[in-house]
């Protein structure tokens, strides 16, 4: 299918077209660029919610609960679940889907597993394109589950409207260590498995973090205790998500991200169009050689710009 046909299929909300469009974005080619050009014209119309936290915190189980909640409110939900790839073989086991399979036959739900394909920062670099594909298909909520993160993989927080950071009791020291990293970014601090011992200590720590955060943006991250496996606290969490959506100006974070994205695209284009041809010229090669051999002064480098 051509990018234009795929785009039309996405707009018509056809699952097969959405699936193929995501694969195209993942491959990265002139076709995926053509598709992204069309996608970019679609207004920001979905609530994009990032779910992040250390491995084993229960992110996938929480996503399953959020799907359940959104569906009961009559909203269409898409999920992008990112898992890591092996730095050695490039292979990966994408297992987040296992926790969400009960929604597989719901036509209002679309779930896609992504490998980060070696990209650092916890999210694959094509994730934003995938978000845009799902947004063009008019899903009300797009849940982006990051890979299990360590201390400062914050990329996810830049491309979503609301970030829920999920932690669990028994990681006290770990949370301490995270305070200066990802903790500075979660809009909602979630304590999952809050029926386990140690929850009081963790809550105290997170409230401290939240207190420190109450600053220029006037949003004090709420601390929410849940048990994703049985659904306890999900109502409170979704209420806080709604509150944050109400609070944050329309997609402000994503607008900032898009501006950065355009800058990056322009920078890449300038490199390809001007820098690459320039450095390949005999004139430039000769000039730099002479400068290295001290036959000409360093400032002569700038003559190439004339």
């Amino acid at each position: 299918m051509t990018p234009a046909q795929l785009f039309a299929g996405v707009i018509e909300q056809r699952p097969a077209a959405i699936a193929k469009a995501i694969s195209l974005a993942e491959r990265g080619s002139s076709d995926s660029e053509a598709l992204f050009n069309q996608l970019f014209g679609v207004p920001l119309q979905s609530q994009v919610i990032g779910i992040t936290g250390p491995p084993g915190a229960g992110k996938s189980t929480l996503v399953d609960r959020l799907i359940e909640y959104a569906r009961s409110a009559g909203q269409r939900v898409a999920v992008l679940a990112v898992d890591p790839s092996s730095p050695i073989t490039g292979g990966s086991i994408l297992g987040d889907r296992v926790r969400m399979q009960r929604h597989a036959l719901d036509s209002g739900v679309f779930i896609r597993s992504l490998s980060n394909r070696g990209h650092l920062g916890g999210l694959s670099e094509v994730t934003y394109q995938c978000i845009r594909i799902l947004e063009a298909a008019k899903f009300d909520w797009i849940l982006v589950e990051s890979i299990g993160i360590g201390q400062n993989e914050i990329e996810i927080t830049r491309m979503v409207d609301t970030t829920a950071l999920v932690t669990i009791p028994g990681m006290g020291d770990y949370v301490q260590a995270m305070k200066a990293g990802v903790m500075e970014f979660g809009d909602i601090l979630v304590i999952n498995k809050s029926d386990l011992p140690g929850v009081g200590q963790l809550e105290k720590l997170l409230l401290e973090v939240a207190h420190d955060r109450a600053g220029p943006d006037d949003w004090t991250p709420p601390v929410v205790k849940i048990v994703a496996s049985n659904g306890d606290g999900i109502d409170m969490l979704t209420e806080k998500i709604r509150a944050h959506i109400q609070f944050a100006p329309e997609h402000a974070v994503r607008r900032r991200y898009e501006r950065q994205l355009l800058d990056d695209m322009l920078q890449r284009a300038i490199l390809n169009r001007f820098y690459q041809p320039l450095v390949r010229t005999a004139n430039y090669q000769g000039l730099t050689q002479e400068i290295i051999e001290r036959k000409r002064p360093l400032q002569d480098l700038w003559t190439v710009l004339e």
Binding site: A19, S92, A104
Partner: protein, 149 residues
Amino acid sequence: MSPIRILLAKMGLDTHTIGITVLAKGLRDAGFEVIFSGFKQTPEVVVASALQEDVDVVGVSSLSGGHMRYIPHMLELMKEHGIDDKIVLVGGVIPEEDIESLQALGVDRVFTMGSAMEDMVRYIKQAVAQQRGEDSEGETPRGEEAAAT
């Protein structure tokens, strides 16, 4: 060549999970993206997952005799959804006479007990390359072969 994507699933009440788990790790180590969809699935769920995940290959493991009940139905659903172009592999305990029936219905290959990981990896790489119109080293074939795709 972008990584090969394969969905692994078990259907019905078959609880023999070691084979598929070992396979998942082996395929990951071969550089594949393995989407693990879980156990005790229905053909409907497997097909919906394969469609959303846009996999190259659907791999079904069956060790307790349910294969003739679930797999033909799964193949039918794949046709209905227009994804019968995907490569379908079956592994596990499959009697000789069923292998022919399954392959006649559209299963590409059956790997029975004792199959070697490297044979499966090689087969999948070749089959996917053929499907995508690349040679199995990841280069797009030149000339007639490319024109044929």
